[in-house]
């Protein structure tokens, strides 16, 4: 059999495994190991299996995953998400759609402490949804903005999506983090615009809340100041070249732990839950990366990516045309594949194409993460939608999906803006110290 044929058989076997509920990490290990054994022999496959597993499990740059996850979990527990929401609520809640806007701003702020869209949606959903329902917000708008706002956790640094992308493509985690800042702010602004449009068309969807006094506003802002300080130290430290992402994650987790202890919000049971939740997410990510690092050499040996590069770059549609084909494929895949799964499955094939077309790998990382975010709220398997459904079980799924469309369109607009103006994503990484 030729390497291409073995590659095709391996890919097919991999998808069959996924259909039959084999975890994606295990599927990649099986298909990758079997494929390498078929192409290069059993000893070579064994060598790659042992060495890649050890390399990934002890790859120091990946310490950012447990430490930033710990920081996000502690931030949620210590009430920082509530502080952020309260501050945004006090300043913007009296406008039409203001509570939904406060939710988006709160999500964006919490995203700077947590790299997980799941955590952002859960924590902000618990805080914001009861408030919006108290003021008779439309269920679709209320749940839609929590689900969409939660996805900001994937784009605004620290982002688990960027870490995985960086490891799979051998890019700088720090540069990717910094590249996510301006697009994250742009997407936040577009979400706010989407809320403004919805409430302009249907004012009853987002009635104004009560107006807070100036004193209350400053008080809430002061309380949220702790969060601002931690973000300045961590993300600012990375941008300023003072700290590496690993150092920033350690310092960030430590500061958040101090805040949680100072606020007496950390019972022993809660601390144990934080530890276990952090380890669970960490092990999940490491297993996927171990699987990917066995699967990627198999793909390279099969020559499928290089053949695809030749095919796509030979198409008479120009580099932008190829890029749009790739993005359209991602958007479609995102409707039924989980985000991280899609990332590890497609990057071995797509990334060489992007490099061959001359696009910046850092910029493409931002683009990919936004497309993954779209998948997080796309029917039928939008993960964040199910997360919000868990927080608001009485709201039908159809209502949540209906409320998501304005935000999905905002993401699409953000994507197109970044394709048209790549400098938005690349300006900050290019000016990093």
């Amino acid at each position: 059999m030729t390497p291409e044929l073995i590659g095709a058989v391996g890919l097919t076997a991999f998808f069959v495994l996924l259909i039959f509920r084999v975890p994606i990490a295990m599927g990649m290990l099986i298909a990758g190991f079997g494929g390498i054994a078929a192409i290069s022999g059993f000893p070579a496959a064994c060598t790659i299996l042992g060495s890649e597993t050890f390399e990934i499990a002890s790859y120091i740059e990946l310490s950012v995953i447990p430490l930033f996850v710990l920081m996000g979990n502690l931030a949620g527990l210590s009430g920082m998400s509530r502080d952020l929401y309260n501050a945004a609520y006090a300043w913007a809640g009296h406008h039409r759609g203001g509570l939904a806007g406060a939710t988006i701003i709160g999500c964006a702020g919490f995203a700077a402490l947590s790299g997980s869209s799941f955590a952002s949606a859960v924590t902000m959903g618990r805080v914001a949804l009861p408030e919006m329902r108290r003021f008779h917000y439309d269920d679709g708008l209320a749940t839609g903005c929590v689900a969409a706002g939660g996805t900001l956790g994937f784009l605004i640094p620290p982002s688990s999506g960027f870490v995985i992308y960086a490891i799979l493509t051998e890019q700088s985690i720090g540069k990717l983090f910094i590249a996510g800042i301006l697009p994250g702010l742009l997407l936040t602004a577009l979400f706010l615009l989407a809320i403004a449009v919805v409430t302009r068309l249907r004012p009853q969807a987002g009635p104004a809340g009560p107006r807070a006094s100036l004193g209350e506003r400053w008080q809430t802002l002061r309380r949220a100041g702790v969060f601002i300080a931690i973000v300045l130290v961590t993300i600012g430290g990375i941008y300023g070249g003072v700290m590496t992402p690993v150092e920033a994650s350690g310092i960030g987790a430590f500061l958040t732990l101090i805040v949680a202890l100072a606020r007496r919000s950390l019972s022993i049971a809660a601390f144990k839950a934080v530890i276990l939740h952090t380890l669970r997410t960490t092990a999940l990510t490491f297993m996927i990366l171990i699987g990917a690092h066995v699967f990627i050499p198999f793909m390279a040996l099969s020559e499928i990516p290089s053949n695809l590069v030749g095919f796509l770059t030979g198409l008479d549609v120009g580099s932008l045309g190829v890029l749009l084909i790739v993005l359209a494929t991602y958007v479609v895949l995102g409707t039924f594949l989980e985000g991280i799964a899609m990332l590890v499955l497609t990057l071995p094939v797509v990334f060489p194409v992007i490099l061959a077309l001359g696009y910046s790998p850092i910029w493409f990382g931002v683009i990919v993460v936004i497309v993954l975010e779209m998948g997080l709220i796309s029917p039928p398997v939008g993960v964040n939608v199910f997360v919000v459904k868990g927080v608001a079980p009485d709201v039908p799924l159809a209502t949540i999906f209906r409320g998501i469309w304005p935000f999905w369109l905002a993401m699409l607009a953000c994507l197109l803006i970044l394709v048209a103006f790549p400098g938005i994503a690349l300006y900050l990484p290019n000016t990093m110290f």
Binding site: L17, L18, I19, F20, R21, V22, P23, I24, M26, I30, F33, C46, L49, G50, S51, T53, F54, A57, S58, I60, S63, P66, L67, L70, L77, G79, R82, A119, V122, T123, R126, V127, E247, S249, G250, I251, A253, F254, L257, A270, K272, A273, V274, I275, L276, H277, T278, L279, R280, T281, T282, A283, L284, F286, M287, F336, L337, E338, I340, A341
Partner: protein, 190 residues
């Protein structure tokens, strides 16, 4: 709480053996992750903070901190991978399986675990062999010269614990107790 099962019992009042085994495995993987993995997690955080503080405030970085940190990370992964697998921490594509009938779903669950078990057996064996090779060739960390051999083997043991989880889950499925597979993770509340 893992280990304190409220699952249906046999006529003699005892839960069936696979259910009791599952309770035991749940307890072990949770304690191993919580105390072992948790110690590594907090140690990693403390080490990073100490290194940064000493480096920037006193211009005296901890010698070999990087070596220790990378091996702590490895131990943390080894100790938590079984817990993660047991509490649904592995990404599974559910789009197709939601459309399966109960019989096919049970076959699929059993097949997934068999495939995982086979792969973990190969992986554990290979890590053990790589550990022996690392010891034979004197592979060590850069600064402190910590030998890598034992850490390869530790990782192999972590994967074996994951395999043990799959074995007991497979027993449950084969005994028709697929409903006892679910082990919700410890929740983090805000």
């Amino acid at each position: 709480m893992p280990g304190k099962s409220t699952r249906p019992s046999n006529a003699d009042g005892m839960p069936p053996l696979p259910v009791r085994l599952m309770g035991g495995v749940d307890l072990v993987v949770r304690q191993v992750a919580l105390w072992g993995g948790g110690a590594m997690l907090l140690g990693l955080m403390g080490l990073t903070v100490a290194d940064v503080t000493l480096r920037y405030l006193f211009n005296a970085p901890l010698y070999g901190a990087r070596d220790v940190a990378k091996l702590m990370l490895l131990v943390m992964v080894a100790l938590s991978v079984a817990y993660s697998a047991r509490t649904g921490g592995q990404v599974v594509i559910e789009f197709f399986s939601r459309r399966m009938g109960p019989r096919l779903a049970a076959c699929s669950e059993a097949g997934a675990r068999l495939a995982g078990l086979a792969m973990l057996a190969v992986l554990s064996r290979q890590l053990w062999i790589s550990g022996a090779n690392a010891a034979a060739f004197g592979e060590t960390s850069m600064a402190l010269g910590i030998p890598y051999g034992p850490f390869y083997r530790f990782l192999a043991l972590g994967m074996l614990l994951y395999a043990a989880v799959l074995v007991v889950e497979l027993l449950l499925i084969l005994r028709g107790r697929i409903q006892d597979l679910d082990q919700p993770p410890d929740d983090v509340r805000s």
